[in-house]
């Protein structure tokens, strides 16, 4: 597990055209890594996330993505992601192909990927319009023992999964604490795993049964304090709920969005500078 700067980690591991899961369920969203992907100008990415939020709005609006696999794409508690909508509704800045699931389906898909299975199973009762819209992407099968109707969901196996976490120790083991969403499954499902962390410590503050990713599963770790802002890292800092509300105004118009990205994300050499510009840190 090499310890790299985030710039090196993204430059070395994320390539145009890949499928990239930046996971985090409201908590521990790898914002800094997404910004670095934008700075490095990656293109034609297939973005994967259960709950794409502001960082995905930004990557999509900046033209990094041509595909999105997701189950809920909004600004949590606020409303729309206007850049995501603009891409789907009007193809701006480019068309975005979507593969849409329910949360439970996507959880099953990640778990299948993490388990080395080509698909996972759910109960199935009736088709919704989502089932009809996506055509053959899901399949009905019958339980060979009971005959019960089941839905097979194809596994998700991202080329790269990127997570944010609280700590890395000297060996490179990573600790996640708090709401974990499908982070563990997304990590194990990936071919390449990148992690940004709040801090490097000698020994993880990891009690029995903590969520720890062993160093030998991880391709690179980058120490990026505040790397989840405006999302949060439990025990380190809170969610910047105010920023989520403000984003509603920033992202509504193309021009204001582009200007904001220019003046904040692109104008900052790295995440530390961005946090200073946003007056989040001193």
């Amino acid at each position: 597990m090499p310890l790299l700067s985030l710039r090196e980690a993204i430059a070395g591991h994320v390539r145009d055209g890949q499928s990239i899961a930046l996971e985090g369920f409201t908590h521990l969203i790898p914002f800094a890594a997404g910004h670095e992907i934008i700075r490095q100008g990656r293109r034609a990415l297939h973005l994967i996330r259960m709950t794409p939020d502001l960082i995905h709005d930004q990557m999509i609006g900046m033209g990094c993505a041509t595909q999105l696999t997701f189950s809920w794409g909004g600004n949590p508690g606020v409303g729309s992601l206007y850049r995501l909508r603009d891409a789907i509704e009007r193809g701006w800045p480019q068309p975005l192909a979507i593969a849409e699931h329910t949360h439970a389906e996507m959880a099953v898909a990640y778990q299948a990927g993490a388990s080395g299975l080509p698909c996972g199973l759910m109960r199935c009762y009736a088709d919704t319009d989502l089932d009809r819209a996506r055509g053959g992407r899901l399949a009905r099968i019958a339980c060979p023992f009971t005959g019960a109707a089941l839905r097979a969901v194809p596994a998700i196996t991202p080329d790269v999964t990127i997570l944010h976490a609280q700590q890395v120790d000297r060996e490179g083991n990573v600790l996640l604490r708090g709401i974990i969403g499908a982070a563990r499954e997304a990590a194990l499902a990936a071919r390449c795993l990148l992690v940004t962390v709040e801090e490097r410590v000698d020994r993880l503050a990891a009690p029995a049964n903590a969520v720890v990713l062993p160093h030998w599963l991880i391709s690179a770790v980058s120490v990026v304090p505040g790397g989840a802002h405006p999302s949060y890292a439990a025990g380190c800092y809170e969610r910047d709920n105010r920023f989520y509300v403000e984003w509603d105004d920033i992202a509504r118009q193309r021009e204001r969005f582009q200007l904001w990205m220019q003046e904040h994300v692109l104008a900052s050499a790295d995440h530390a500078e961005l946090l200073r510009r946003l007056r989040i840190t001193a």
Partner: protein, 268 residues
């Protein structure tokens, strides 16, 4: 004594009253979350709240803005992964009440939270399904909270994201769904419930001051009214006070400017 109140408050108090103490409730953000936490602070202190972030048995002091605010984890009995909360709790049949909202509902309680217009080229792209179809299928019963308007209470959904009673008259039951479907729809006019035979939603209770005609005008299908239409009481002032206190604390918490004190970087 009366107290002035708005439609959101009336809906929230009414919805909270639908929840029995001790029930296990899978909660969405917004009005469902407000109603559940009001219930927990009033008549149903042992209500078990599960948010889809995997926070089980949570007791937030302020309402979460997102489904995964730190407050939800810090006050939970346990925090489990997404695959666990959907498989081990919801699909396994451990959830009594699923509490949903949506952009559109039809006369049989089917819901749309995906698109307005055509799916491939939508007029308005909505956030999408999230866990709603899973909750609608698996929770023992479903409560829905939505404001009534001809745009949201429609004869035909633009897109059926989550299943209610499908076409009604037992179609849901025949499809084998484990959950019974929508038990009540709480609106800004009153409460709609499914007819015992056809499963079509009908107005069964109305708020003081609301009229059947206005409710019908706000509904995109010919709304039926139950033979005996109950008039709901005005919100209890004590309930209102608790709700307002909760929302004031919430607004203060969400408006707070964030400052991060970064840890001193470790020597590498």
């Amino acid at each position: 004594m009366t107290t002035a109140y708005n439609a959101d408050e009336m809906m929230t108090v009414t919805a909270a009253r639908q929840l029995r103490n001790g029930a296990v409730c899978f909660v969405g953000i917004g009005l469902p979350s407000a109603a559940c936490n009001l219930a927990r602070r009033t008549h149903a202190p042992d209500l078990v709240l599960i948010y889809e972030s995997g926070t089980v048995g949570t007791r937030p002091q302020v309402l979460p803005l997102s489904i995964g605010d730190g407050e939800l984890a810090a006050t939970a009995t346990c925090v489990v992964s997404l695959p666990e909360v959907f498989a081990h709790y919801l699909q396994r049949g451990r959830v009594d009440v699923g509490f949903l909202s949506a952009a559109q509902i039809d006369g049989y309680g089917n819901l749309n939270s995906t698109v307005i217009g055509d799916y491939a080229r939508p007029t308005v792209r909505l956030p999408g399904s999230g866990g709603a179809p899973d909750i609608a299928a698996c929770a023992r019963e479903v409560l829905i909270i939505m404001k009534q308007s001809p745009r949201s209470f429609v004869a035909r959904l633009d897109f059926m994201t989550s299943c209610g009673y499908l076409g009604g008259t037992g179609e849901r039951r025949r499809a084998g769904f484990p959950g019974a479907g929508p038990r009540a729809v709480i609106t800004d006019f009153g409460i709609l419930r499914p007819d015992a035979v056809t499963e079509e939603l009908q107005l069964v209770a109305i708020y003081p001051g609301a009229t059947v005609d206005a409710a019908r005008a706000a509904t995109g299908w010919p709304l039926r009214v139950a033979p005996t239409l109950e008039t709901l009481p005005a919100p209890d002032p004590a309930d209102l006070a608790v709700l307002r206190e909760l929302q004031a604390a919430t607004q203060a918490a969400h408006a707070r400017a964030l400052r991060i004190d970064l840890p001193r970087p470790a020597q590498t």
